[in-house]
Symmetry: C2
DNA sequence: GTCTATAATCAGATAGAC
DNA sequence: GTCTATCTGATTATAGAC
């Protein structure tokens, strides 16, 4: 747990430290697997401070989720809109959808990696998905689906949606960083190798979409 | 919560009812999101009974996970071994890998659907994945990867592993039944439509594997 | 803003009667 | 096997001093 607290955390203000620590712990153990006390301990602040700044535990969870969601969603929107204005290849549309995540995951800030693991948790949870994903992300997915419809004007909507579902699952597992690919491949591949993860995902998904939607 | 308890549950013995209820609740809310008391209430048994039969909460969780894991793993092994003995197409190998899940999810028994949602929870959790997936499932994945290596003898191992990773993610999200595809497609697709989910997944994944591994 | 102290609740686990 | 009762500890949340 201590290794999650970076040295320079000490310089950031306490409110941000609470968000960072909550982000890291919620991503690892889920909402119910984390206590305010654990968060406060990791953030090296008093237990009562989380409540003072964010109110109830559930409010803190939402605050953590929302903090980077807007930023991510905006970036996605911008890239997808830029694509839609001109004729684009399937690969470019998929890349535009994945780019913000790839960028976020490759940044120096470990907070972004924690956040994306949290996003994976929310995406795959039957409970949280319904509550949280419609706030920021569903809109962007609808835009992505629209771009796909332009590329596959003759495909049935069902097929496009199912294809997106498969891609979304592959993406979620990548964000989650479970370490399973490391284990199964005997260390030949790493969950943290995002370069490869995104590089291969684009042709993989493009070929798959074409097969089903063309 | 009450709707999860089926009428005929009343006839099954209490030990099984505890497992069934724990399975349903753990799948929905995760390990930490469920209390022994909730499980007992749903199973309509006394709180102390769970402890009597299964010991600690963590032991109960393992008991739930293990109950159907062996069965699933055996079926997968049988189908993959049958495939490997003769030359097979990529589609057939993928289908052999998915078949046991498809069958389980399509059965009348809602317990199997709950179990597969639990499996998705374990697969996507950084914590539980490391503890639980190696017990039964990693071995079968290695067999599946071996079959893929036969089909793509010239592909680098890394690429095969990453492709499997994407498929595994798509599968996990399907098992999780989050209801997101229903929401995004405005009800045109359903998370519970496993016929379509598996029917489209085979050509989708086959084309994707070929693109990356050929 | 920060911390101490505490209230109120609820968790897991078990002892012991039947 | 089953249930009642209870112990122990932890948790959220907050009131109030500084």
């Amino acid at each position: 747990m201590t290794e999650l607290a970076t040295q320079n955390n000490k310089e950031i203000n306490k409110k941000e430290r609470i968000l960072d620590s909550a982000e890291a712990l919620f991503a690892q153990h889920g909402y119910d697997g984390v206590t305010i006390r654990q968060i406060a301990k990791l953030a090296e602040v008093d237990v009562a401070l989380a409540n003072y700044h964010f109110g109830k535990k559930l409010d803190l969870f939402h605050a953590v989720f929302d903090r980077r969601a807007q930023q991510l969603s905006d970036q996605r929107h911008k890239l997808l809109a830029a694509q839609q204005s001109s004729m684009q290849t399937l690969e470019q549309v998929i890349e535009a959808f994945l780019m913000p995540l790839k960028m976020a995951q490759q940044t120096e800030d470990p907070g972004w990696r924690n956040y994306l693991a949290l996003l994976a948790y929310v995406m795959t949870s039957p409970v949280w998905n319904k509550i949280m994903m419609s706030k920021f992300f569903d809109k962007r997915v609808v835009e992505f689906i629209a771009a796909l419809k332009d590329i596959f004007p003759n495909a049935s909507e069902d097929k496009i949606h199912w294809c997106y579902h498969y891609m979304s699952g592959a993406l979620a597992l990548t964000l989650a960083q479970t370490g399973r690919i490391d284990r199964i491949s005997n260390g030949k591949c790493q969950s943290t190798d995002f370069d490869t993860a995104y590089e291969l995902m684009v042709p993989f998904m493009a070929a798959a979409f074409r097969k089903v939607c063309d």
